[in-house]
Protein backbone atom coordinates (compact mmCIF):
# COMPACT_ATOMS: atom_id res chain seq x y z
CA UNK A 1 0.00 0.00 0.00
CA UNK A 2 2.70 2.49 0.99
CA UNK A 3 4.68 1.75 -2.14
CA UNK A 4 1.66 2.60 -4.23
CA UNK A 5 1.05 5.70 -2.16
CA UNK A 6 4.58 6.90 -2.87
CA UNK A 7 5.21 5.83 -6.42
CA UNK A 8 2.04 4.44 -7.90
CA UNK A 9 -0.32 7.35 -8.07
CA UNK A 10 -1.47 8.53 -11.44
CA UNK A 11 0.56 11.49 -12.41
CA UNK A 12 3.81 10.00 -11.17
CA UNK A 13 3.89 7.93 -14.34
CA UNK A 14 4.35 4.68 -12.51
CA UNK A 15 2.58 1.69 -13.91
CA UNK A 16 1.44 -0.65 -11.16
CA UNK A 17 -0.56 -3.55 -12.48
CA UNK A 18 -0.63 -5.48 -9.24
CA UNK A 19 -2.09 -4.14 -6.06
CA UNK A 20 0.02 -6.34 -3.90
CA UNK A 21 3.06 -4.54 -2.47
CA UNK A 22 4.41 -7.93 -1.39
CA UNK A 23 5.09 -8.66 -5.06
CA UNK A 24 7.41 -5.68 -5.17
CA UNK A 25 9.14 -6.74 -1.99
CA UNK A 26 9.66 -10.29 -3.25
CA UNK A 27 10.87 -8.89 -6.59
CA UNK A 28 13.33 -6.66 -4.73
CA UNK A 29 14.62 -9.61 -2.69
CA UNK A 30 15.08 -11.68 -5.85
CA UNK A 31 16.90 -8.92 -7.74
CA UNK A 32 19.03 -8.16 -4.69
CA UNK A 33 20.10 -11.79 -4.38
CA UNK A 34 20.96 -11.89 -8.07
CA UNK A 35 23.01 -8.69 -7.84
CA UNK A 36 24.83 -10.07 -4.80
CA UNK A 37 25.58 -13.31 -6.66
CA UNK A 38 27.06 -11.32 -9.54
CA UNK A 39 29.17 -9.29 -7.09
CA UNK A 40 30.35 -12.48 -5.38
CA UNK A 41 31.73 -13.67 -8.70
CA UNK A 42 34.57 -11.18 -8.15
CA UNK A 43 35.44 -11.99 -4.56
CA UNK A 44 38.91 -10.47 -4.70
CA UNK A 45 37.48 -7.19 -5.95
CA UNK A 46 34.85 -7.13 -3.21
CA UNK A 47 37.47 -7.88 -0.55
CA UNK A 48 39.77 -5.12 -1.78
CA UNK A 49 36.85 -2.71 -2.06
CA UNK A 50 35.82 -3.43 1.54
CA UNK A 51 39.42 -3.07 2.75
CA UNK A 52 39.60 0.25 0.89
CA UNK A 53 36.43 1.48 2.57
CA UNK A 54 37.74 0.50 6.01
CA UNK A 55 41.04 2.25 5.25
CA UNK A 56 39.17 5.39 4.23
CA UNK A 57 37.25 5.23 7.50
CA UNK A 58 40.39 4.80 9.61
CA UNK A 59 42.24 7.56 7.74
CA UNK A 60 39.37 9.95 8.27
CA UNK A 61 39.33 9.15 11.97
CA UNK A 62 43.03 10.07 12.07
CA UNK A 63 42.19 13.29 10.28
CA UNK A 64 39.39 14.10 12.75
CA UNK A 65 41.62 13.47 15.73
CA UNK A 66 44.29 15.70 14.19
CA UNK A 67 42.03 18.69 13.62
CA UNK A 68 40.55 18.46 17.10
CA UNK A 69 43.82 17.66 18.85
CA UNK A 70 44.65 21.29 19.68
CA UNK A 71 41.26 22.71 20.62
CA UNK A 72 39.64 19.44 21.84
CA UNK A 73 36.38 20.68 20.27
CA UNK A 74 35.04 21.56 16.83
CA UNK A 75 32.21 24.03 16.57
CA UNK A 76 31.42 23.50 20.24
CA UNK A 77 31.27 19.70 19.94
CA UNK A 78 33.70 17.33 21.66
CA UNK A 79 35.76 14.86 19.65
CA UNK A 80 33.30 12.01 20.41
CA UNK A 81 30.37 14.14 19.31
CA UNK A 82 32.20 15.12 16.11
CA UNK A 83 32.87 11.42 15.48
CA UNK A 84 29.14 10.78 15.89
CA UNK A 85 28.39 13.26 13.06
CA UNK A 86 30.89 11.37 10.90
CA UNK A 87 29.36 8.01 11.82
CA UNK A 88 25.85 9.22 11.01
CA UNK A 89 27.10 10.39 7.62
CA UNK A 90 28.60 6.94 7.07
CA UNK A 91 25.44 5.17 8.23
CA UNK A 92 23.27 7.04 5.73
CA UNK A 93 25.90 6.78 3.00
CA UNK A 94 26.24 2.99 3.36
CA UNK A 95 22.48 2.34 3.43
CA UNK A 96 21.90 4.73 0.50
CA UNK A 97 24.59 2.98 -1.55
CA UNK A 98 23.11 -0.39 -0.71
CA UNK A 99 19.53 0.53 -1.58
CA UNK A 100 20.08 2.72 -4.62
CA UNK A 101 23.16 1.20 -6.22
CA UNK A 102 21.33 0.81 -9.54
CA UNK A 103 21.18 4.59 -9.94
CA UNK A 104 24.95 4.50 -10.55
CA UNK A 105 24.26 2.31 -13.61
CA UNK A 106 21.35 4.34 -14.94
CA UNK A 107 23.39 6.16 -17.56
CA UNK A 108 24.01 2.93 -19.44
CA UNK A 109 20.25 2.30 -19.50
CA UNK A 110 19.70 5.67 -21.16
CA UNK A 111 22.57 5.67 -23.67
CA UNK A 112 22.01 2.06 -24.72
CA UNK A 113 18.24 2.38 -25.00
CA UNK A 114 17.66 -0.34 -22.37
CA UNK A 115 15.46 2.09 -20.46
CA UNK A 116 12.78 1.55 -23.13
CA UNK A 117 12.51 -2.05 -22.02
CA UNK A 118 12.17 -1.00 -18.38
CA UNK A 119 9.30 1.30 -19.40
CA UNK A 120 7.45 -1.52 -21.12
CA UNK A 121 7.54 -3.80 -18.07
CA UNK A 122 4.47 -4.02 -15.82
CA UNK A 123 6.34 -2.52 -12.87
CA UNK A 124 7.08 1.00 -11.78
CA UNK A 125 10.12 2.17 -13.78
CA UNK A 126 11.15 4.41 -10.91
CA UNK A 127 11.09 1.54 -8.41
CA UNK A 128 12.92 -0.69 -10.89
CA UNK A 129 15.72 1.83 -11.41
CA UNK A 130 15.93 2.92 -7.78
CA UNK A 131 15.87 -0.47 -6.09
CA UNK A 132 16.81 -2.80 -8.95
CA UNK A 133 20.45 -3.36 -8.06
CA UNK A 134 20.83 -3.47 -4.27
CA UNK A 135 24.03 -5.26 -3.39
CA UNK A 136 24.19 -6.88 0.07
CA UNK A 137 28.00 -6.64 -0.04
CA UNK A 138 27.62 -2.88 0.34
CA UNK A 139 26.45 -3.62 3.87
CA UNK A 140 29.69 -5.38 4.91
CA UNK A 141 31.01 -2.25 6.57
CA UNK A 142 27.74 -1.58 8.36
CA UNK A 143 28.37 -4.05 11.21
CA UNK A 144 31.71 -2.55 12.38
CA UNK A 145 30.18 0.90 11.95
CA UNK A 146 27.23 0.10 14.22
CA UNK A 147 29.51 -1.50 16.81
CA UNK A 148 31.76 1.56 16.80
CA UNK A 149 28.71 3.80 17.01
CA UNK A 150 27.61 1.89 20.11
CA UNK A 151 31.05 2.41 21.65
CA UNK A 152 31.08 6.13 20.83
CA UNK A 153 27.61 6.50 22.36
CA UNK A 154 28.95 5.14 25.65
CA UNK A 155 31.55 7.94 25.66
CA UNK A 156 28.83 10.58 25.48
CA UNK A 157 26.74 11.33 28.53
CA UNK A 158 22.97 11.45 28.72
CA UNK A 159 21.84 9.53 25.65
CA UNK A 160 18.30 8.50 26.51
CA UNK A 161 15.93 5.97 24.91
CA UNK A 162 13.90 8.88 23.55
CA UNK A 163 17.05 10.29 21.92
CA UNK A 164 17.75 6.93 20.30
CA UNK A 165 14.15 6.66 19.06
CA UNK A 166 14.29 10.17 17.58
CA UNK A 167 17.66 9.37 16.03
CA UNK A 168 16.30 6.26 14.26
CA UNK A 169 13.22 8.21 13.11
CA UNK A 170 15.35 11.04 11.73
CA UNK A 171 17.84 8.68 10.08
CA UNK A 172 14.90 7.12 8.21
CA UNK A 173 13.80 10.66 7.37
CA UNK A 174 17.37 11.35 6.16
CA UNK A 175 17.18 8.30 3.93
CA UNK A 176 14.00 9.69 2.36
CA UNK A 177 15.95 12.86 1.55
CA UNK A 178 18.81 10.77 0.15
CA UNK A 179 16.31 8.87 -2.01
CA UNK A 180 14.89 12.17 -3.25
CA UNK A 181 18.40 13.26 -4.29
CA UNK A 182 18.73 9.99 -6.21
CA UNK A 183 15.39 10.60 -7.95
CA UNK A 184 16.57 14.09 -8.94
CA UNK A 185 19.71 12.52 -10.41
CA UNK A 186 17.60 9.99 -12.35
CA UNK A 187 15.43 12.80 -13.72
CA UNK A 188 18.54 14.69 -14.80
CA UNK A 189 19.83 11.48 -16.38
CA UNK A 190 16.66 11.07 -18.45
CA UNK A 191 16.93 14.62 -19.78
CA UNK A 192 20.70 14.97 -20.24
CA UNK A 193 22.12 11.38 -20.07
CA UNK A 194 24.38 12.70 -17.31
CA UNK A 195 24.28 10.63 -14.13
CA UNK A 196 27.80 9.82 -12.91
CA UNK A 197 29.00 13.29 -11.99
CA UNK A 198 25.55 14.29 -10.73
CA UNK A 199 25.54 11.42 -8.25
CA UNK A 200 29.07 12.32 -7.20
CA UNK A 201 28.01 15.92 -6.65
CA UNK A 202 25.30 14.59 -4.34
CA UNK A 203 27.95 12.63 -2.47
CA UNK A 204 30.28 15.64 -2.29
CA UNK A 205 27.44 17.73 -0.87
CA UNK A 206 26.51 15.10 1.70
CA UNK A 207 30.18 14.94 2.75
CA UNK A 208 29.75 18.45 4.13
CA UNK A 209 27.59 16.76 6.76
CA UNK A 210 30.58 14.80 8.06
CA UNK A 211 31.23 17.81 10.29
CA UNK A 212 28.83 19.86 12.42
CA UNK A 213 27.22 22.36 10.04
CA UNK A 214 27.97 25.33 12.28
CA UNK A 215 31.60 25.27 11.13
CA UNK A 216 30.40 26.64 7.78
CA UNK A 217 29.45 30.27 7.09
CA UNK A 218 25.82 31.20 7.82
CA UNK A 219 24.86 31.43 4.13
CA UNK A 220 26.19 27.92 3.51
CA UNK A 221 24.41 26.59 6.60
CA UNK A 222 21.15 28.15 5.40
CA UNK A 223 21.66 26.64 1.94
CA UNK A 224 22.30 23.19 3.36
CA UNK A 225 19.44 23.41 5.81
CA UNK A 226 16.59 24.58 3.62
CA UNK A 227 17.49 24.33 -0.07
CA UNK A 228 19.63 21.16 -0.05
CA UNK A 229 18.59 19.65 3.29
CA UNK A 230 21.89 18.06 4.29
CA UNK A 231 21.29 19.27 7.84
CA UNK A 232 17.98 17.39 8.02
CA UNK A 233 19.68 14.36 6.52
CA UNK A 234 22.79 14.05 8.72
CA UNK A 235 23.31 16.83 11.26
CA UNK A 236 19.87 16.96 12.83
CA UNK A 237 19.62 13.19 13.51
CA UNK A 238 22.98 13.46 15.31
CA UNK A 239 21.75 16.45 17.28
CA UNK A 240 18.67 14.41 18.25
CA UNK A 241 20.91 11.65 19.59
CA UNK A 242 22.89 14.22 21.54
CA UNK A 243 19.62 15.53 23.00
CA UNK A 244 20.00 19.07 21.69
CA UNK A 245 17.05 19.10 19.31
CA UNK A 246 13.61 20.59 19.86
CA UNK A 247 10.28 19.08 18.75
CA UNK A 248 10.02 21.99 16.32
CA UNK A 249 13.29 20.89 14.74
CA UNK A 250 11.95 17.35 14.26
CA UNK A 251 8.75 18.63 12.61
CA UNK A 252 10.69 20.96 10.28
CA UNK A 253 12.93 18.05 9.30
CA UNK A 254 10.01 15.80 8.39
CA UNK A 255 8.29 18.61 6.46
CA UNK A 256 11.49 19.31 4.53
CA UNK A 257 11.89 15.69 3.50
CA UNK A 258 8.21 15.58 2.42
CA UNK A 259 8.65 18.69 0.27
CA UNK A 260 11.93 17.38 -1.16
CA UNK A 261 10.44 13.99 -2.01
CA UNK A 262 7.41 15.60 -3.69
CA UNK A 263 9.65 17.85 -5.78
CA UNK A 264 11.85 14.95 -6.80
CA UNK A 265 8.85 12.86 -7.90
CA UNK A 266 7.55 15.86 -9.82
CA UNK A 267 10.90 16.25 -11.55
CA UNK A 268 10.89 12.54 -12.44
CA UNK A 269 7.43 12.89 -14.01
CA UNK A 270 8.51 15.94 -16.00
CA UNK A 271 11.71 14.19 -17.10
CA UNK A 272 9.79 11.17 -18.37
CA UNK A 273 7.63 13.47 -20.50
CA UNK A 274 10.82 14.67 -22.15
CA UNK A 275 12.30 11.21 -22.65
CA UNK A 276 12.99 10.88 -26.36
CA UNK A 277 14.10 7.24 -26.48
CA UNK A 278 16.79 8.48 -28.85
CA UNK A 279 19.29 5.70 -28.18
CA UNK A 280 17.15 2.73 -29.06
Amino acid sequence: MWLRALFGRKGFVCILHKDDDMKYISLWIRVTLQTTQVALASRLGVTLFTVGKLLRFVFFMVFLSLITSKTKTLGGYTIWEVILFFLTFNLIDIIAQFLWREVYRFRSYIVSGSFDMVLTKPISPLLRILFGGSDVLDLLTLVPLLLFMGYVSTQINEITVLNIFLYILLVINGLVIAMSFHIFVLALGVVTTEVDNAIWIFREITQLGRFPLNIYPKAVTFLFTFLLPIAAMISIPTQALLGILTVRGVIICICLSGIFLSLSLLSWREALKRYASASS
Binding site: T47, F49, F59, F63, E194, N197, W200, P217, V220
Partner: protein
Protein backbone atom coordinates in the same frame (compact mmCIF):
# COMPACT_ATOMS: atom_id res chain seq x y z
CA UNK B 1 30.76 16.42 -26.66
CA UNK B 2 29.70 15.70 -23.07
CA UNK B 3 29.45 19.28 -21.89
CA UNK B 4 27.01 18.67 -19.02
CA UNK B 5 29.18 15.86 -17.74
CA UNK B 6 32.30 18.02 -17.85
CA UNK B 7 30.60 21.00 -16.21
CA UNK B 8 29.29 18.79 -13.40
CA UNK B 9 32.77 17.30 -12.96
CA UNK B 10 34.21 20.78 -12.53
CA UNK B 11 31.39 21.71 -10.11
CA UNK B 12 32.45 18.70 -8.04
CA UNK B 13 36.02 19.94 -7.92
CA UNK B 14 34.85 23.39 -6.89
CA UNK B 15 32.67 21.89 -4.14
CA UNK B 16 35.65 19.97 -2.78
CA UNK B 17 37.67 23.17 -2.70
CA UNK B 18 34.96 25.11 -0.86
CA UNK B 19 34.36 22.39 1.74
CA UNK B 20 38.08 21.96 2.46
CA UNK B 21 38.53 25.71 2.78
CA UNK B 22 35.56 26.20 5.13
CA UNK B 23 36.75 23.39 7.39
CA UNK B 24 40.32 24.61 7.68
CA UNK B 25 39.30 28.25 7.94
CA UNK B 26 37.14 27.34 10.92
CA UNK B 27 39.77 25.11 12.55
CA UNK B 28 42.50 27.73 12.26
CA UNK B 29 40.16 30.53 13.35
CA UNK B 30 39.65 28.58 16.59
CA UNK B 31 43.38 28.20 17.08
CA UNK B 32 45.83 30.13 14.92
CA UNK B 33 48.67 27.72 15.67
CA UNK B 34 48.06 24.38 14.01
CA UNK B 35 51.26 22.40 14.65
CA UNK B 36 53.32 25.45 13.73
CA UNK B 37 51.16 26.63 10.83
CA UNK B 38 49.18 29.84 11.13
CA UNK B 39 45.92 30.38 9.25
CA UNK B 40 47.40 31.89 6.08
CA UNK B 41 50.09 29.19 5.91
CA UNK B 42 47.65 26.33 6.25
CA UNK B 43 45.17 27.87 3.78
CA UNK B 44 47.98 28.49 1.31
CA UNK B 45 49.20 24.92 1.75
CA UNK B 46 45.72 23.50 1.14
CA UNK B 47 44.92 25.67 -1.86
CA UNK B 48 48.26 24.87 -3.49
CA UNK B 49 47.97 21.18 -2.69
CA UNK B 50 44.43 21.04 -4.12
CA UNK B 51 45.58 22.85 -7.25
CA UNK B 52 48.62 20.59 -7.66
CA UNK B 53 46.46 17.52 -6.97
CA UNK B 54 43.97 18.63 -9.60
CA UNK B 55 46.84 18.77 -12.10
CA UNK B 56 48.81 15.67 -11.10
CA UNK B 57 45.90 13.32 -10.41
CA UNK B 58 43.96 14.00 -13.63
CA UNK B 59 44.80 11.00 -15.76
CA UNK B 60 43.39 8.83 -18.51
CA UNK B 61 45.51 5.83 -17.56
CA UNK B 62 42.67 4.39 -15.49
CA UNK B 63 41.19 3.15 -18.79
CA UNK B 64 44.23 0.95 -19.51
CA UNK B 65 42.99 -1.91 -17.31
CA UNK B 66 39.64 -2.16 -19.11
CA UNK B 67 41.38 -1.87 -22.51
CA UNK B 68 43.49 -4.87 -21.55
CA UNK B 69 40.49 -6.80 -20.17
CA UNK B 70 38.33 -6.11 -23.23
CA UNK B 71 41.08 -6.75 -25.76
CA UNK B 72 41.01 -3.16 -27.03
CA UNK B 73 44.78 -3.03 -26.40
CA UNK B 74 45.24 -5.12 -29.55
CA UNK B 75 44.17 -2.15 -31.70
CA UNK B 76 47.05 -0.13 -30.26
CA UNK B 77 49.63 -2.90 -30.46
CA UNK B 78 49.00 -3.11 -34.20
CA UNK B 79 49.70 0.59 -34.68
CA UNK B 80 53.16 2.09 -35.13
CA UNK B 81 53.13 3.92 -31.80
CA UNK B 82 54.18 3.36 -28.23
CA UNK B 83 51.10 2.64 -26.12
CA UNK B 84 52.57 4.14 -22.97
CA UNK B 85 53.80 7.27 -24.74
CA UNK B 86 50.39 7.62 -26.34
CA UNK B 87 48.83 7.55 -22.90
CA UNK B 88 51.35 10.02 -21.52
CA UNK B 89 50.43 12.42 -24.35
CA UNK B 90 46.73 11.94 -23.60
CA UNK B 91 47.44 12.64 -19.95
CA UNK B 92 49.23 15.89 -20.78
CA UNK B 93 46.33 17.00 -23.00
CA UNK B 94 43.88 16.14 -20.24
CA UNK B 95 45.91 18.04 -17.68
CA UNK B 96 46.17 21.07 -19.97
CA UNK B 97 42.38 21.18 -20.29
CA UNK B 98 41.84 20.70 -16.57
CA UNK B 99 44.34 23.36 -15.60
CA UNK B 100 42.56 25.98 -17.74
CA UNK B 101 39.24 25.27 -16.02
CA UNK B 102 40.86 24.97 -12.60
CA UNK B 103 42.34 28.45 -13.04
CA UNK B 104 38.86 29.79 -13.77
CA UNK B 105 37.47 28.07 -10.69
CA UNK B 106 40.23 29.45 -8.49
CA UNK B 107 39.49 32.92 -9.87
CA UNK B 108 35.83 32.50 -8.79
CA UNK B 109 36.95 31.10 -5.42
CA UNK B 110 39.36 33.96 -4.73
CA UNK B 111 36.91 36.65 -5.81
CA UNK B 112 34.15 35.22 -3.60
CA UNK B 113 36.08 34.39 -0.43
CA UNK B 114 39.29 36.44 -0.51
CA UNK B 115 41.23 33.70 1.31
CA UNK B 116 44.37 34.61 3.29
CA UNK B 117 46.65 33.21 0.59
CA UNK B 118 50.40 33.82 0.47
CA UNK B 119 51.53 34.58 -3.09
CA UNK B 120 55.08 33.39 -3.65
CA UNK B 121 57.20 36.07 -5.31
CA UNK B 122 60.57 34.34 -5.21
CA UNK B 123 61.28 33.36 -8.85
CA UNK B 124 63.72 30.57 -7.90
CA UNK B 125 61.16 28.94 -5.63
CA UNK B 126 58.50 29.24 -8.32
CA UNK B 127 60.81 27.55 -10.84
CA UNK B 128 61.63 24.77 -8.37
CA UNK B 129 57.92 24.41 -7.68
CA UNK B 130 57.18 24.04 -11.41
CA UNK B 131 59.97 21.48 -11.79
CA UNK B 132 58.67 19.48 -8.82
CA UNK B 133 55.12 19.50 -10.26
CA UNK B 134 56.38 18.22 -13.64
CA UNK B 135 58.35 15.45 -11.95
CA UNK B 136 55.28 14.65 -9.84
CA UNK B 137 53.24 14.29 -13.05
CA UNK B 138 55.75 11.73 -14.38
CA UNK B 139 55.86 9.83 -11.09
CA UNK B 140 52.06 9.64 -10.84
CA UNK B 141 51.81 8.54 -14.47
CA UNK B 142 54.03 5.51 -13.83
CA UNK B 143 52.27 4.61 -10.56
CA UNK B 144 48.85 4.84 -12.21
CA UNK B 145 49.94 2.83 -15.26
CA UNK B 146 51.46 0.19 -12.98
CA UNK B 147 48.13 -0.24 -11.16
CA UNK B 148 46.26 -0.48 -14.47
CA UNK B 149 48.66 -3.16 -15.72
CA UNK B 150 47.16 -5.49 -13.10
CA UNK B 151 44.58 -5.90 -15.88
CA UNK B 152 46.94 -8.37 -17.59
CA UNK B 153 46.47 -10.82 -14.74
CA UNK B 154 43.08 -9.92 -13.28
CA UNK B 155 39.72 -8.45 -14.27
CA UNK B 156 39.52 -6.75 -10.90
CA UNK B 157 41.99 -3.93 -11.31
CA UNK B 158 39.52 -1.48 -9.78
CA UNK B 159 40.01 -3.02 -6.31
CA UNK B 160 43.72 -2.15 -5.97
CA UNK B 161 43.05 1.24 -7.55
CA UNK B 162 40.35 1.99 -4.99
CA UNK B 163 42.76 1.14 -2.16
CA UNK B 164 45.46 3.25 -3.83
CA UNK B 165 43.10 6.25 -3.94
CA UNK B 166 42.35 5.88 -0.24
CA UNK B 167 46.05 5.67 0.60
CA UNK B 168 47.21 8.64 -1.46
CA UNK B 169 44.20 10.60 -0.22
CA UNK B 170 46.00 10.88 3.10
CA UNK B 171 49.71 10.06 2.66
CA UNK B 172 50.28 12.45 -0.24
CA UNK B 173 49.31 15.40 1.98
CA UNK B 174 46.16 16.49 0.20
CA UNK B 175 44.11 16.75 3.42
CA UNK B 176 46.74 18.24 5.71
CA UNK B 177 50.51 18.90 5.73
CA UNK B 178 52.26 15.62 6.49
CA UNK B 179 54.80 17.23 8.83
CA UNK B 180 52.07 17.59 11.48
CA UNK B 181 52.15 13.80 11.90
CA UNK B 182 54.31 12.22 14.62
CA UNK B 183 57.99 12.43 13.63
CA UNK B 184 58.63 8.68 13.17
CA UNK B 185 55.57 8.39 10.88
CA UNK B 186 56.65 11.42 8.86
CA UNK B 187 60.24 10.16 8.65
CA UNK B 188 58.97 6.85 7.25
CA UNK B 189 56.66 8.57 4.76
CA UNK B 190 59.54 10.69 3.45
CA UNK B 191 61.10 7.58 1.91
CA UNK B 192 57.90 6.60 0.07
CA UNK B 193 56.87 8.12 -3.28
CA UNK B 194 53.53 9.50 -2.08
CA UNK B 195 54.64 12.73 -0.36
CA UNK B 196 56.35 13.70 -3.64
CA UNK B 197 53.02 13.94 -5.43
CA UNK B 198 51.62 16.89 -3.44
CA UNK B 199 53.25 17.58 -0.08
CA UNK B 200 56.76 18.24 -1.37
CA UNK B 201 55.51 20.54 -4.15
CA UNK B 202 53.39 22.58 -1.75
CA UNK B 203 56.25 22.97 0.72
CA UNK B 204 58.60 24.06 -2.07
CA UNK B 205 56.05 26.69 -3.16
CA UNK B 206 55.77 28.01 0.38
CA UNK B 207 59.55 28.19 0.76
CA UNK B 208 59.38 26.24 4.00
CA UNK B 209 62.11 23.77 3.15
CA UNK B 210 65.82 24.47 3.66
CA UNK B 211 68.05 24.07 0.59
CA UNK B 212 69.35 20.67 1.71
CA UNK B 213 65.81 19.25 2.02
CA UNK B 214 64.87 20.62 -1.40
CA UNK B 215 67.88 18.88 -2.93
CA UNK B 216 67.21 15.60 -1.11
CA UNK B 217 63.51 15.84 -2.01
CA UNK B 218 64.32 16.21 -5.71
CA UNK B 219 66.79 13.33 -5.49
CA UNK B 220 64.22 11.00 -3.89
CA UNK B 221 61.65 12.11 -6.48
CA UNK B 222 63.99 11.32 -9.38
CA UNK B 223 65.02 7.98 -7.85
CA UNK B 224 61.34 6.98 -7.47
CA UNK B 225 60.63 7.98 -11.08
CA UNK B 226 63.56 5.77 -12.22
CA UNK B 227 62.34 2.86 -10.07
CA UNK B 228 58.76 3.23 -11.30
CA UNK B 229 59.93 3.50 -14.92
CA UNK B 230 61.98 0.28 -14.68
CA UNK B 231 59.19 -1.59 -12.85
CA UNK B 232 56.54 -0.36 -15.30
CA UNK B 233 58.62 -1.44 -18.34
CA UNK B 234 59.26 -4.81 -16.70
CA UNK B 235 55.58 -5.42 -15.82
CA UNK B 236 54.46 -4.18 -19.27
CA UNK B 237 56.76 -6.70 -21.02
CA UNK B 238 55.70 -9.51 -18.68
CA UNK B 239 52.06 -8.58 -19.18
CA UNK B 240 52.31 -8.63 -22.97
CA UNK B 241 53.55 -12.21 -22.76
CA UNK B 242 50.37 -13.32 -20.99
CA UNK B 243 48.04 -11.03 -22.96
CA UNK B 244 45.51 -13.11 -24.89
CA UNK B 245 43.45 -10.34 -26.54
CA UNK B 246 40.44 -11.78 -24.73
CA UNK B 247 37.22 -10.14 -25.82
CA UNK B 248 38.33 -9.48 -29.41
Amino acid sequence: MYRTSFILYRVRELLKLFSLYFLWHFVTAQNNDFFGYDQSEIITYLLISTFVGDFIYSTRTTAIASEINEGVLTNFLLRPLSYLRYYFTRDLADKAMNIVFALGEYAIFFSLLHPPFIFQTNASLLLLFLASVLLGVILYFFISVLISLIGFWSNEGWGPRFIFYQVIGIVSGSLFPLDVLPKPVFALLEWLPFPYLIFFQSKVYQGQLPGSEIVSGFLILVVWICIMYVVTRFVWKKGLRVYTAQGR
